[in-house]
Symmetry: D2
Subunit: 136 residues, 4 copies
């Protein structure tokens, strides 16, 4: 399990005064970047140099507690499935410091050649990293 | 079934040159607003005057075809479930004009008193509107 | 002068309940797209087929009246300067229907080859269009 | 002078593959928050407890070098003017690590009672903080 923390920012808030629900998926993307950056800069290197990205083919979120400006979230990142070209992540989101159970995001990403937008096998180092955090 | 169309905008695009996946949930929100605005201005009236909103408790999307700047999407809005305080929407997204099957978004919203953030029964007119578009 | 109208959307609002100030520049971009689309689809054609874009080299906004969710804005688009490779736009923003004087955005854009990110002369049809709306 | 650093994120990028120009104003807002948080949590405390915010009445940016996904920016924050209710900030943005001169953002903010949206004198501690970073 890998941990990613970030504050709720002004631009995340909607007219109801709470985080606009699509923003949780932005948080999930950032958390995945953070996960891949177990070797610092690895996500950028894949993206920019090797032209490999991880587009999402399925994403879902359950929302339990609304978030407000200034809240800090803690995302516990797990891997729930590893395929040949795809993998599944789960992000258990709690609020810091009170530990409130805020939301769970899940998404499935596919290793993709960004030049052709076709799927490719997961890079070896990413597969190893995923394996180290697979929960069963 | 209600139809909502909108263009893919510059700000929807990410560094891979395709629509950033959280944006599909922004599209879903806009489509729901459009649905509620069967009586023009009704969503705003609920939100601003009656202080009733529809926060999302679950959202999911399946992504099949990537979208690019300038694409136009057509969202076919259906109601899949009506509860006492909540309801479920499905948005079948195709690309105009070729009809490509782009994505399906589903979300569950809960009628909510925005002053207290507590759930309330669906307003009568909204319940009727939902019923007219319920698919089984 | 060309007119562009659009509603204030949920995602435009910040934690203070008013439009987050950077969003006015998103509105300006949309208005410029609308202006270039005097021939429908022209902005997209330039961008996608001819790989010509109009990056901003200077942008400024004066804010006078805060906007809220559900407000509708009317942007009056003028051209204030036409150079060889660049031009300047002004957007006078009022609120519909009361005509409140909301804000003025100005920005300078440069015709740019998107493959090389180098500046190029303004395309002839765009130069003509700009000329038709130049104020002095 | 106070320094704020942050990476260019996936959502900051537009269809031209560079940071969408309105995002620089989001960066400026974050930098101002960081500045006010000289006492950690002070911006949030003002906003949430005292209901004091700093809406922008004027904002401007000069853009010199386009930014791409993965770039890191360094914002040098200065105060250029202190009034009774308002103050002016300048953010000199360079790219890390090569020091490229990317952009300059300036904005004027007004201390505001968020309940009534009326201007108020700058809080004393904020005035002192501003004074410590005033350039002439």
């Amino acid at each position: 399990m890998v941990i990613y923390e970030r504050p709720v920012r002004m631009e995340d808030i909607d007219a109801a005064g709470i985080v606009f629900f699509p923003r949780f998926f932005v948080y999930a993307f950032e958390a995945m970047e953070h996960f891949v950056n177990d070797v610092p800069g690895r996500h950028l290197e894949l993206f920019t140099k090797e032209r490999i990205g991880f587009p999402v083919v399925r994403a879902a979120c359950d929302y339990r507690v609304p978030l407000r400006y200034g809240d800090v979230i803690r995302m516990a990142i797990s891997v729930t499935k590893i395929g040949t070209t795809s993998c599944s992540f789960r992000y258990d989101i709690t609020r810091v410091p009170d530990g409130a159970d805020v939301a769970t995001v899940e998404h499935v990403v596919v290793a993709t050649d960004l030049k052709t937008l076709t799927k490719i096998p997961l890079p070896d180092d990413i597969r190893s990293l995923l394996g180290a955090h697979l929960i069963t």
